[in-house]
């Protein structure tokens, strides 16, 4: 269930050149600043705009090929598209809007699943209204519901949660995870919120000024600080792969193993599972010269400093390889098989602690700052 896009297109003076391949199913974040071409790219994938040239493949189905003159019309691409502007049908009720796609699709979702979607989106009380009588966030939810109920083969989501409050987002995000894990529906997800990206996405495509700068797994992408759209972000950090080992008796925390280190995070809802993804923001990682005791932070992890980047004016980003090297052999070697953590601290405090490359220190991380997420497949 891969997605391959290699197209070029022109909109007025704007040139769009997208080139990426996502080898796997799962959620792909499309990330880039305002006006970078995200919506245009999604329109092209959906078949609403025809690129000048190139090739698009979704799940091994060629939907567009300029040379072979293949151009599947949008309605045959079986995409569910949540538009940036809701685009609800003004003359139809909420209910008619919601079932518009479903009624046109032979493979319907089971009844219970439909109800669950409506329930989750909180739109049951709105069913009889028309879009003109909805609030901004309600429109967005109905639009999302309409795409989900149409039971698509791929979901294209253009900032689907931007007008929603935190609590509502927390209800919807797990559903996306469920869709990905249980229904295996690939998603291309445009968002500006790194939080959402980190929590959801398996892959990430970074676009800027119409060019796809990079694409790859979220693990590597969120660690990269060289890409303009990601650099300097407040919540940049690391995504780590771990597995659940056990939990405490009251099921309040889960104990994980990450490259031989024990980590404690808020309970993940499963007694044991091989695949967990953790998002740890650089700003949440504290560095201690000696392992502190009697602190609330549950994670005190031996790490080795492998890089100190001095790019920002008053903070430094420090790369920390998990584990204390027995010798200094690998000290300049960033990867070396072991996962790397990023910490951001003030320059002043780096200076105060006299931090240097190769030093064996401890990363102190509060459990509640870690976003953990169980995945049913290998990540």
């Amino acid at each position: 269930m891969s997605i391959t896009v290699s197209i070029s297109h022109k909109l007025g003076k704007f040139d769009l050149d997208a080139d990426f391949h996502i080898p796997d199913t799962g959620i792909t974040a499309l990330f880039g600043p305002s006006g970078s071409g995200k919506t245009s790219l999604i329109n092209i994938i959906a078949g609403l705009e025809t690129p000048r040239q190139g090739h698009i493949e979704i799940s091994d189905r060629v939907v567009f090929d300029h040379r072979q003159r293949i151009n599947l019309p949008a309605r045959k691409r079986r995409v569910g598209y949540v538009f940036q502007d809701a685009r609800l049908f003004p003359h139809k009720t909420v209910s008619e809007n919601l079932y518009f796609g479903a009624r046109r699709n032979a493979q319907k979702l089971p009844r219970e699943e439909q109800s669950a979607i409506l329930e989750m989106l909180g739109i049951l009380p709105l069913m009889g209204r028309r879009p003109a009588a909805l609030s901004g966030g309600e429109k967005q939810r109905v639009s999302l519901g309409r795409a989900l109920l149409s039971n698509p083969d791929i979901l294209l989501l253009d900032e689907p949660l931007s007008a929603l409050d935190h609590a509502r987002k927390q209800e919807i995000l797990p559903y996306f995870e469920w869709l990905r894990d249980h229904r295996k529906i690939p998603m291309l997800y445009v968002t500006h919120a790194i939080d959402e990206v980190a929590r959801l996405a398996d892959h990430m495509v970074v676009i800027d000024q119409g060019k796809t700068l990079a694409s790859g797994s979220v693990f590597e992408m969120l660690g990269r600080t060289d890409l303009p759209p990601l650099a300097g972000r407040f919540d940049a950090g690391t995504v780590l792969s771990a597995r659940i080992v056990s939990r405490d008796p009251k099921a309040e925390v889960s104990f994980l193993d990450c490259a031989g280190q024990r980590l404690v995070v808020p309970y993940l809802g499963r007694p044991a599972n091989p695949n967990v993804r953790l998002h740890i923001r650089a700003r949440d990682v504290m560095i201690a010269k000696t392992a502190p005791t009697g602190i609330s932070a549950n994670n005190v992890i031996p790490v080795t400093i492998t890089k100190i980047s001095q790019e920002n004016r008053d903070t430094v980003d420090i790369s920390l390889r998990l584990g204390h090297d027995p010798d200094g052999r690998h000290q300049h070697d960033t990867a070396n098989g072991q996962p790397v953590l990023h910490a951001r601290i003030t320059r002043w405090s780096a200076h105060r602690l006299k931090l240097g490359l190769g030093q064996k220190v401890f990363a102190v991380i509060k459990s509640v700052t870690v976003d953990g997420q169980v995945a049913d497949q290998a990540i």
């Binding site: 609403l48 309605r75 569910g80 518009f100 046109r104 003109a132």
Partner: protein, 229 residues
Amino acid sequence: MSLTPTEIEALLLSLRISGVAVLCALPFAILVATALALGRFPGRFILDAIVHLPLILPPVVMGYLLLIGFGTRAPLGSWLYETFDIRFVFSWTGAALASAIVSFPFQVRAIRLSLENVNHGLYQAAETLGAGPVDRFFSLTLPLALPGIIAGAITAFAASLGEFGAIITFVSNIPGETRTLPLAIYTAIQTPGGELAAARLAALSIGLAFAGLLLSEIAMRHIRKRALA
């Protein structure tokens, strides 16, 4: 003022002829308006021009052309007559045909204007939800253009009610068959001292049209209210 039997006859005839004319022309008007508004095909401009012909040509000429085309001695007319026993000349169906053709441009114009106002983004949304062109036409285009369709039908109905030249030329002025209100008015006016009779008939015409307008206003208000409910 109670109506004389002749007045009632003319009134009912006008109503029937205009009603049939508008209703029968409507599907064609929608078709043509759609082609003009959304289609991109060679000959689009020619079609547009042909639709406007009945407006441009004096009604008498239209009536004359109809007479030439649909007369029982004309190829088309005689074929229709012999094959289907449909006879337009000198029958109310002919008057309806003339009214339909003469009021056709009004319907097309209004519908086309409405169609062109439908937001393209909605079509895109419908397409991603699996709706093909015909489906989109019926689920989006038509309902969204409804105000224009009603407006067009009303204008056409009013124009049909007032149509004179094409009818008298094509199907003559036969009481009970083709003498609609305007022809009755004309007949009255031809008569010295017929002014009063003409005025009564004109008042009837106006009353009829007002009723039609009132109905359309109510329908429009209903549609708009629904859209905000």
